[in-house]
Amino acid sequence: MRVRDALASPVLWVGVLFVALLVGMPELRPVFHWAFPAVKEPVFERTSFVALWLSHAGMVAAASLAASIIGVGLAVFATRPAGRDFRPIVNVLATIGQTFPPAAVLALAVPAIGFGPEPTIVALFLYGLLPVIENALAGLDGVPPAVRDAAEGMGLSPWQMLRDVELPLAMPAILAGVRVSVTIAIGTATIGSTVGALTLGTPIFDGLAGNKLPFVIQGAVLVALFAILTDMLFARLDRRLRALPETPFGR
């Protein structure tokens, strides 16, 4: 039964398809030759797709991890008595910041930092902070006052209250913020190829610049599958998190 469930899961099939294409794209050379007879070398070979993906995923992971930790930290600060004065302005900063086009943030990081992977990571981090802050604030605000009172009545210290009550209850909202942040990071990192980062977007831009449609297709399909797979994994994590018995004091 478990095996059948696993086989029926779309996550598995998208994952298998993604890995197969990532590793086996050069094997499809005859197909691309047939479809685009005018293009001499129809498979992108400057760098292997696996190396492109590792670089892409590494940047997204580093930036999103940092953004998640610092974003949750800022949201926690803004909801403590000491930081309550900053709550409205942090919220405004997070919402206004998200109206900035990600591509513009990326482009503006270049004059400040220089070409290469660094501006991409910085832009991904800065932009990724905002959805995490916004959702973590909403999640922490959503903790029912009755639960807070009960925990206080049980004699929980502020730190225990945060660790055992507030953060576990806010976790689905925080996860939703991280999910948005990672989705945007994958897309923005793709554009990072234009400023010298090595990502799955590199074949797309090489293909657009050199008028080689097969390169565009190879990059675009892999980027799309990568993004969809990541989102599916987050959806699964979210379901698992919500399926936990809803006890006010964590697990």
Partner: protein
């Protein structure tokens, strides 16, 4: 408070020092602005447009009267944090902070023209980190003050409009002309106007159809809740795909179409250009439109719907006179998300030849010309901010009714 407690309370107020810290946000903003001015460059002087410049501080770069006025205004805003709070005080703080924004701009323009007067013709004076931090801190101080004053959407709109008009007047008077950003603008004035118009056209061409397709889809989904699962799954999937990948994937079928039907190519539909960009922007816009419309229409109080039915309204009347008006705040919120998103994605569309403000961004990146990047990125950011602000105000006004 009971009348009996008024006396001790009054005594407590009399005992408390009149000037203590009431607002902790303003001192932090002041510290950020002051640190940026003391440590970072306010403007940067470069021998030509392609190299990065040497940073020059505010007090070295600008006339002492302007830099002195900035210091005094900054201190005045700081002082408001120590005064007893009240609406008048917060409005005064907002006014002082607005003046600070304008003076910061003027100082940059003045610094550029005085530095430029003694420099060779190719020299460029660009905006430095100190300028941006000071501008940002002053803008946040305005927002903080308006929030504390409890300003409604109307008042916020009025402040934003007055500030925008004043900035335009400063730019029109030529006070900023010596800045390299203005010089990039003047050498590309016609291109800029065309790119700005193209950007807006791309956004409008995407948002219009998205609403026309999204609203009926949402209505269908509300009437048949069983459709919602698959519909949202597909729309969410589309939204997940990175923009440049979706652009790339649309190039293939569109170029095949254009090759098969030369008439389409004559209409401007082809693998690259605006066609794939607009289609992708419509696809991205569908999820927020449908999600908010479904939430808005499904959220209408069933008792109101029953009452309207009881009055003998037909289904069509019910939709147009009850459901849509009541769902309006959420519909506008959806429109806001879509507009902001489309303005941002249209920047990327320049990469597939769709034009728009992105052409300056990516041309600037290619030439390593920071001011050219700014010439594209800054208006895109301002457009997004304006769309966000206007639609947010409209939604707030609609919710009030």
């Amino acid at each position: 408070m009971s009348p009996g407690s008024a006396l001790p309370a009054a005594a407590a107020i009399a005992r408390a020092p009149a000037f203590r810290l009431h607002n902790r946000v303003v001192p932090v903003l002041f510290a950020a602005g002051a640190a940026a001015l003391l440590c970072g460059g306010f403007v940067a002087l470069a021998p030509n447009r392609l190299v990065s410049g040497r940073p020059i501080g505010l007090f070295a770069a600008a006339d002492w009267r302007i830099s002195g006025a900035i210091a005094v205004l900054g201190l005045a805003v700081l002082a408001t944090a120590f005064a007893p709070p009240g609406r008048t005080l917060h409005r005064a703080a907002a006014f002082l902070s607005s003046l600070l924004v304008l003076l910061t701009l003027e100082a940059a323009g003045q610094a550029a023209s005085s530095l430029g007067a003694g420099a060779p013709a190719l020299a460029r004076i660009s905006l430095g980190a100190g300028f941006w931090v000071l501008l940002g801190a002053a803008a946040l101080a305005i927002i903080d003050a308006l929030q504390r004053a409890g300003a409604g959407p109307g008042e916020r709109l009025a402040v934003a409009a007055a500030l925008a008009a004043a900035i335009l007047a400063i730019a029109q008077a030529g006070l900023l002309d010596a800045l390299s950003l203005a010089r990039e603008f003047h050498t590309r004035q016609h291109l800029f106007a065309a790119a700005l118009v193209r950007h807006i056209v791309l956004v409008a061409a995407a948002v219009g159809p998205a609403v026309l397709i999204g609203l009926p889809l949402a209505l269908a989904a509300v009437r048949r809740p069983g459709w919602q699962g698959p519909l949202f799954a597909v729309l969410n999937l589309l939204q997940t795909i990175p923009s440049i990948a979706l652009f790339g994937l649309l190039i293939v079928p569109l170029s095949a179409l254009a090759a098969a039907f030369p008439g389409l190519a004559a209409l401007g539909i082809g693998g690259i250009g605006p066609a794939p960009a607009i289609i992708a922007l419509v696809l991205y816009a569908l999820l927020p439109v449908v999600r908010n419309s479904v939430a808005g229409i499904a959220g209408v109080d069933p008792a109101v719907v029953d009452a309207a039915r009881g009055m003998g309204m037909t289904r069509r009347e019910l939709l147009w006179r009850v459901e849509l008006p009541l769902a309006l705040p959420l519909l506008l919120a959806g429109l806001r998300i879509v507009m902001v998103q489309a303005i941002g994605l249209a920047v990327v569309a320049a990469l597939i030849g769709a034009g728009g403000l992105g052409i300056f961004v990516f041309e600037g990146l290619g030439q390593y010309a920071a001011d050219l990047v700014l010439l594209g990125a800054l208006p895109a950011i301002l457009l997004a901010l304006a769309a966000d602000f206007l639609l947010q105000s409209l939604a707030a006004l609609a919710a009030r009714r």
